[in-house]
Symmetry: C2
Subunit: 217 residues, 2 copies
Amino acid sequence: MKIKVVESILKANDAVAQDNRKVMDEAGVLAINVMSAPGSGKTSLLEKTIPALGPQHRSAVLVGDLQTTRDAERLDDIAAEVVQINTGKGCHLSATQVSDGLKSLKLENISFLWIENVGNMVCPAAFDLGEHLRVVLLSMPEGDDKIAKYPTLFQPANAILLSKIDLVGVLDYNMERVKNDLSRINTRAPLIEISTVTGEGMDMWLEWLRSQRTSHK
Amino acid sequence: MKIKVVESILKANDAVAQDNRKVMDEAGVLAINVMSAPGSGKTSLLEKTIPALGPQHRSAVLVGDLQTTRDAERLDDIAAEVVQINTGKGCHLSATQVSDGLKSLKLENISFLWIENVGNMVCPAAFDLGEHLRVVLLSMPEGDDKIAKYPTLFQPANAILLSKIDLVGVLDYNMERVKNDLSRINTRAPLIEISTVTGEGMDMWLEWLRSQRTSHK
């Protein structure tokens, strides 16, 4: 019974997601669903990425959070358009919430639509929002065991950013374990080591983004 | 409709939780639900805490994870009893899963039952498992904005452990903001700064645990 309810919620969600994708395709926007655990650096990544993409690539952002508008405030001066979606007790964004958010955004002359999901390694993975790409952050201090533990998040990712790499010297971290776990579930996504503090890895990340933008056109 | 379904799931869960609490009360066990984001150090905390409590306080552990038995393996030699519960795609433990787990545990001569929840800052908060106390870990690298963002997790906590405090020197962290956010939603729970690497704060944490154990008898 419970499973049936969940299936029907997902089915309804996926139909709205298809509509969202059509809206974004018509506007010529590349939509990226950014997912991670809480505090892995999603907002910090966008703070650094959006200006670095340059004026030829304008960004809009939909920010999901249970409460507060703190992340949206951080991005307000950086992105061309920002809309905060408060999910209350909801552990993920849904396609309907994104559809509502899209209605508040002017998508003309926008290259990238960033959808910053709720900080969570479980729920967001099950919900297609209509995005074209999924980017997952794995923060180094979260430990080297997360890929095997959360395969539903990492398996469909188009890129995986190993964030807070500036802490590499002070953490006991087995990088081989991470790469080995990843090789079993996802051989398509690049694993990019990144730090928004030192800027390490930003070039590779921006290059990947631009190539995705080019091949999407 | 969706809300009604959720309410009825929670109501059924709470009834089972009451039964769990009765089982643990009769066995003289103090049950602690340990919650946090993924990779905040729940398993590391138990690895250090259980031996430090001494032979007069034996521990059993129920470990929730989507997949893998890695955490249970880490605790297998340390705790008197360990049971792994795999939740599949479930983002939290339920009272029924804990009830099933309890059936596999011998609770005689056990002082503490640790319930290590799924790494998640949203879903676990809504589900009473029959625990007596809730302990929430907030890992320092997750940032200083999490208490305001996840009030449903931090509001009902009996103790909050600020973990990975050994990283304090390398992070840009506003401790006042954390304390200020916490003072608005929870003035009961002590905020204990802790590191399982350096051992900082372990004394205070163990003292708190022993006092809870004494007052529970």
